[in-house]
């Protein structure tokens, strides 16, 4: 059973993103007190081993950071030095990976230990691998920041480990930002904005490019350590990701709000209230999960509208089309070739 973290639970290791953020602000001689104000984090906390903060504290910190930081490259700078600034078995595993496939599988299993703000999943089509990024404990209004951070850290880690430039396409779920140049510089030119999901697609061939400092023994060791860490961890998933997972799981069982509340031993009203600090509602999660499923069926397995409608338990394909239009503003047929 997953151990679920709510908004006030201390589940984010502050020696990671928080520490990098503070040291970056120190370098630029920006006001650290202003950065930490209202977050309930103190500078001396960061010297403590295993100090953790809650999703609420994290969101306040990110809000402050984005307000104070001059310029629009904060997430990209943090992403650039994400891999070297981390430590522990997760990073060792990534550093020792033999190739992108191994690294990616390792990351998918253990990312929550260091990046609990994300929910990652993956699909693959004939020639391409697709990584999908959604938010777990990260707030919806800070989505762009987390996505920039995740994508730029992945790209720069790949560059570092494979020693070749990154080649892949990015589908981003927001409008083209003003600082498009930062995207082109750090991510490359294959960018499409205003997409329904955040997806990173690359050729399967990229999976097998050997990494320069691969170390199978080191990798195996790191994997054992990470497994142990995961078993001991107090929390293993955030509430939004847990609910989304239940709704997306190739629906053998159809969960509803009362079912999920029951599984968590909460009343439906309490569950709704617990979601509020994450800046998301149950209905939104339901829509996201349905959209996720629908796009998978349309673009990856290539099913017809009618089949998709049946699998997602819509009354008929018209109903499905209408809902799909509401989620994305576009018709299902336009997504048939989306990822190719």
């Amino acid at each position: 059973m997953q151990r679920v973290a709510y908004a006030q639970d201390k589940c984010v290791d502050s020696s990671l993103l928080v520490a990098s953020l503070i040291s970056l602000f120190e370098y630029r001689q920006l006001d650290i007190n202003q950065l930490l104000s209202g977050s309930g984090i103190f500078e001396q906390d960061l010297t403590k081993l295993n100090h953790k903060i809650s999703p609420i504290q994290l969101s306040q910190l990110i809000d402050n950071a984005l307000a104070i930081w001059p310029g629009d490259d904060l997430a990209f700078l943090l992403g650039q030095q994400w891999l070297p600034s981390q430590s522990g078995s997760l990073t060792n595993g990534l550093l020792c990976s033999g190739n992108l496939r191994q690294m990616q599988n390792f990351w998918q299993r253990f990312y929550w230990l260091t990046q609990p703000w994300l929910q990652g999943s993956h699909w693959h089509t004939d020639k391409q691998q697709h990584l999908i990024f959604q938010l777990d404990i990260g707030l919806f209004r800070q989505r762009q920041f987390y996505i920039e951070l995740a994508l730029s850290s992945l790209v720069s880690s790949y560059k570092r480990l494979a020693n070749t430039p990154w080649q892949g396409a990015f589908y981003l779920p927001f409008a083209e930002p003003k600082h498009i140049d930062q995207y082109q510089k750090y991510l490359g030119k294959h960018l499409s904005f205003n997409q329904p999901l955040c997806v990173l697609s690359y050729d399967q061939a990229l999976n097998d490019v050997p990494f320069t400092i691969a170390d199978q023994h080191g990798f195996a060791l790191a994997q054992r350590q990470a497994e142990q860490l995961q078993q001991q961890a107090q929390y293993t998933i955030g509430l939004p990701a847990l609910i989304r997972n239940m709704l997306t799981q190739e629906s053998k069982q159809q969960y509803t709000l009362p079912d999920i509340a029951d599984l968590l031993s909460l009343s439906p009203a309490t569950l709704k209230r617990r979601l509020k600090p994450f800046n998301i509602s149950f209905q939104q999660l339901q829509d996201q999960a349905n959209l996720h499923n629908a796009i998978y069926l349309l673009a990856v397995t290539g099913e017809t509208n009618l089949q998709v409608a049946q699998q997602l338990k819509f009354a008929d394909s018209n109903n499905f089309r209408r809902s799909f239009k509401r989620w994305t503003g576009l018709l299902p047929s336009q997504f048939r070739c989306w990822l190719s």
Partner: protein, 299 residues
């Protein structure tokens, strides 16, 4: 040296005179009869008070914004004189003029014209000074000054400014050369030596590039460790040699740069490109350069 000392003394004398003058006049007025309450005009007091406050606020702005120097001193003395005049006018409202000696009203009128004359002289010299500064900043701003577009780290323009300038040049149908310089392994500098060193390196490169260019060129920080140099009215051959020269110059700072060049023949092409398309061409050129570098490393 002597001249500078003399200037400083003159400046101090100017300020002392102004302050002494205001004290003297205030003391004189203290002996004058005050106006009866009914005759005091609230509206006049408000307008003249506002003028005084405005004068003083200009004074503080000049003190904050400008480095010390002859022009600044002239401006300060001028504004001080003007503010003093306003102060006298304001005091007038409270006292009966006829109760003072005749020379007084004459004396009281002096500060305003003297102040305004000094201010005008100061502004004239400011204009001269600005021309020189503009020349110094030519390769950094090209006659278009908008401080919001300046990059915080390197103090040169960011990519928004170069788009603006590019669109302008495209409209004028000039041939242009674009050079993009990308520092190799810059992320490593940040990782190994810290962001402080990384920022210093970026600033040095920006300075270096700005100093190497012709007076009509413009350099900006594109993003991260990428810089774009805009060369108006340049031939393809000139672009290439300029690019090589800049690349060489950067080697002097103990780092290597990749360099992409794009030459745009403005009048020959039927379809006009806009700034974003030009920059996209340049970045894809840069991708090719980087790919080629990887290939050569492998073989």
């Amino acid at each position: 040296m002597d001249k500078k000392m003399a200037n400083t003394r003159l400046y101090q004398a100017g300020i002392t005179i102004a302050v002494a003058f205001s004290v003297l006049l205030s003391v004189c007025l203290a002996q004058a009869q005050t106006k009866p309450y009914q005759l005091i005009d609230g509206f006049d007091i408000a307008t003249e008070g506002a003028l005084l406050l405005l004068g003083l606020s200009w004074l503080t702005l000049v003190l904050q914004a400008r480095p010390d120097g002859n022009v600044t001193r002239l401006l300060i003395v001028g504004l001080l004189g003007y503010s003093l005049g306003c102060y006298m006018d304001l005091l007038d409202e409270f006292f009966i003029n006829s109760s003072l000696p005749g020379w007084f009203s004459w004396l009281e009128k002096l500060p305003t014209p003297i102040g305004l004359l000094t201010l005008t002289l100061g502004l004239w010299l400011w204009r001269e000074e600005q021309k020189t500064v503009n020349e110094q900043l030519r390769t950094r701003e090209q006659f278009f000054r908008q401080h919001q577009l300046v990059d915080r780290v390197t103090k040169i323009y960011d990519s928004r400014a170069i788009r603006q300038q590019l669109n302008l040049l495209i409209k004028r149908e000039e041939n242009l050369g674009l050079v993009m310089l990308d520092i190799d392994n810059f992320a490593k500098v940040n990782q190994q030596q810290g962001f402080k060193e990384g920022d210093i390196l970026l600033t040095n490169i920006a300075q270096l590039l700005a100093s190497q260019l012709r007076s009509q060129d413009l350099v900006c920080r594109y993003a991260g460790d990428s810089f774009i140099v805009l060369l108006p009215k340049a031939s393809a051959a000139f672009n290439q040699s300029m690019a090589d020269e800049l690349k060489q110059a950067i080697c002097g700072l103990n780092c290597q740069a990749s360099c992409a060049v794009f030459h745009y023949q403005n009048n020959q092409s039927d379809t006009k490109l806009n700034a974003s398309q030009l920059i996209a061409e340049l970045t894809s050129e840069m991708d090719k350069v980087k790919q080629a570098r990887v290939m050569s490393k492998v073989s």
